[in-house]
């Protein structure tokens, strides 16, 4: 069943991609096949392989239970928040929080996770910024 749904999504993607392809503005500089031909070929391959999934699906993989799904979702949300927070709060603070969260969700005790988060953040900052001179995001406090 998973493969059928995946095939359907793939098929929609192929159609969407081909449709977007038709919208490409042609330029006055032109080569014989133009900017649309290659996308059409790709859309065809995408579409055909998606049809194969629908016609001949593999056995479904073992999906995690809902709770786990939710957990991965929350972790993704934390990473997104991290990406957006970086320029605002600076590298050290945001990284400590994000790393602590991930470590906690991977099974560390809350206190241990908080310590790990701080250690990872300061460790990366020391090695990559202070020693190697890589520029990391600067927050209101300059680190």
């Amino acid at each position: 069943m998973s493969d059928r749904i995946f095939g359907l999504i793939g098929l929609l993607l192929a159609v969407f991609y081909a449709w977007q392809g038709t919208l490409i503005q042609e330029s006055f500089i032109q080569d014989p096949v133009g900017p649309k031909a290659f996308p059409y070929i790709i859309a065809t391959v995408l579409g055909i392989s998606s049809l194969v999934f629908i016609v001949k699906p593999d056995p479904a993989p073992q999906w995690p239970v809902f709770g786990r799904f939710f957990e991965i979702g929350v972790s993704v949300a934390v990473m997104v928040a991290y990406a957006l927070a970086l320029p605002e709060a600076g590298f050290v603070a945001s990284t400590a929080v994000a790393a602590a969260f991930l470590s906690w969700r991977l099974g560390a005790h809350v206190l241990a996770a908080a310590g790990a988060g701080a250690a990872i953040s300061v460790g990366i900052y020391t090695i990559f910024h202070l020693v190697l001179g890589l520029s990391l995001a600067e927050g209101p406090w300059g680190f």
Binding site: P32, S49, W63, V76, L86, A98, A99, L106, G117, I124
Partner: protein
């Protein structure tokens, strides 16, 4: 022999204090990365590319650092296979079959030392193979025109699913997905934006480094979150090593196995779509067929440790041949190495050998140096690397995720790239669940631009006549191979997989 004099020039490039130190650092990091479960050659090197790139290392030193990591990771994968029965990376899977039983018999140190020597033998001779074979391939590749290149790229994608692929449609889907992603952004030939939905950030296209780190490294973090492996700690009581030098008699007994496996591994590495996993698998199976007279394989036979290790390291060297000479990688790890070259603004292929011989031969010399360093490092220092296994994933994986973010943020300093990377991580996790291979996606993102360019160039030359793609005998040959490579797994794949499963459970 102009090959040898080029190689000598390469050594003069590689032997500077800075480069030697970088090689040493790379070997050490690589072994650690290979040893850690959840980090292998592909995602380990993937995380380091953006870092090497943002640190502003010049091309040759950066290459030396990263290839040392690549070879080092190939060495490191065996440590957890032998001690914990968990392969540190995919090619090290076959090493668990005899390595772990040896460790259980109290011969862990011997198994580690023997596999280190076997790795050295495999990698050393494969690098010689690279030295002599790559320039020959370059001569052929110089005859390629745009139509032949287009056929060659198709060949690479068609065979990438490989003999071990479960589902060719999924490999094709993955390749098309990657190629589709590569068309995002302003079209290089006519200057019109494609698939960018008016988003300025997308005009430059999607950086393949963002895609690689997301698909390989972040999706691994999600896999760990899914299974909560984070809690599993390695048990230090299993880590008794014992003597770390193998007896001479054991080396004599395994010499034949190493020799045969090196050749098989090298050939498997050169062939497109095979790579190190197949190299180690074939070496082990063949060695079992030849030498297993007393049914000792699977119960801790030293030859069963030497064969797959020599095989996978030889394949790692062999896989560099098509990557350097044609610019078309045949496996996941070489795809990542290609990404590294492209990030450094070096396009591999026949012209590289003519225009930047210092880069090519410096790199090859670095492989030799790294190899010797790895051998010297791995025999006496193995107990240090073993400690690395004790780092629990619950602390390791967050660090991996954060270093990935640092690398990508360093490239452009924009949150947008980070969001795209997270997106790739999620897609990568779903694709892995659905058994869709990720390597064709990466390769599509990297090679899509070149593939299209060659197609359109060929069409411009022939003025829109599509039959030009199959006009020359060379192109026809490539198309035939591509077709064969795509269809053969459908016919033989079932047989091969059944055998592999037999081997996998046969411990």
């Amino acid at each position: 022999m102009d090959v040898l004099s080029s190689l000598a020039d390469g050594f003069s490039v590689a032997i500077t204090l800075q480069n030697l130190l970088l090689a040493l650092l790379g070997c050490f990091l690589g072994t650690v990365i290979g040893a850690l479960p959840g980090l292998g050659p592909s995602n380990g090197v993937a995380i380091l590319i953006p870092l090497a790139f943002t640190l502003g290392l010049p091309a040759t030193p950066a290459l030396i650092l990263l290839t040392s990591v690549y070879y080092g990771a190939m060495y490191g994968g065996r440590i957890s296979s032998i001690l914990l029965n968990i392969p540190g990376d995919e090619p090290a899977l076959m090493t668990t079959l005899d390595g772990y039983p040896m460790a259980k018999k109290g011969q862990a140190g011997e198994a580690l030392a023997l596999s280190g020597i076997a790795s050295f033998v495999g990698a050393f001779f494969a690098t010689w193979g690279l030295v002599f074979l790559a320039p020959q391939l370059v001569k052929v590749a110089l005859l390629f025109g745009p139509a032949e290149y287009f056929a060659l790229f198709t060949l690479a994608f068609a065979t990438l699913g490989g003999i071990a692929s479960r589902n060719q449609a999924k490999a094709a889907f993955a390749a098309a997905l990657g190629l589709g992603i590569s068309t995002i952004g302003v079209d290089g030939q006519t200057g019109v934006p494609r698939f960018s939905f008016g988003e300025v950030h997308l005009y430059d296209g999607i950086d393949f480094l963002v895609a690689i780190v997301g698909l390989f490294a972040l999706s691994e973090v999600f896999v760990f979150l899914e299974h909560h492996h984070g809690a599993a700690d390695a048990d230090s009581s299993k880590m008794k090593i014992g003597r770390v030098t193998p007896p001479i008699s054991m080396l004599k007994k395994t010499a034949g196995a190493m020799g045969r496996s090196t050749i098989i591994g090298f050939v498997a590495g050169v062939l497109p779509g095979a790579g190190a996993s197949l190299g180690s698998f074939l070496s082990y199976s063949l060695e079992k067929k030849i030498s297993d007279r007393d049914r000792t394989f699977g119960t801790g036979d030293p030859r069963g440790v030497a064969a797959p290790e020599a095989g996978n390291n030889a394949a790692a060297g062999g896989a560099l041949v098509p990557m350097l000479a044609l610019g078309v990688p045949g496996s996941g790890t070489t795809a990542v190495l290609l990404a590294m070259l492209l990030a450094l603004n070096i396009t591999p292929g026949p012209l590289l050998f003519q225009q930047n011989p210092d880069v090519v031969w410096g790199l090859i010399a670095a492989l030799f140096i790294g190899n010797v360093m790895l051998l010297l490092m791995n025999i006496p220092m193995v107990s240090i690397f073993v400690r690395v296994l004790l780092i629990p994933p619950k602390y390791l994986m967050p660090a991996v995720a954060m270093i990935s973010f640092v690398g990508i943020y360093g490239i452009s300093g924009s949150s947008f790239d980070l969001l795209v990377m997270i997106g790739f991580g999620v897609i990568g996790w779903f694709l892995r669940k659905l058994d869709v291979p990720l390597v064709p996606v990466i390769l599509g993102v990297m090679l899509g631009d070149q593939m299209e360019k060659n197609l359109r160039r060929a069409m411009t030359i022939s003025d829109g006549d599509w039959t030009a793609l199959v006009a020359s005998p060379l192109a026809m040959g490539l198309w035939a191979f591509a077709l064969l490579g795509f269809v053969a797994p459908l016919l033989f794949g079932r047989l091969f997989r059944m055998k592999k499963r037999e081997e996998d459970v046969g411990d």
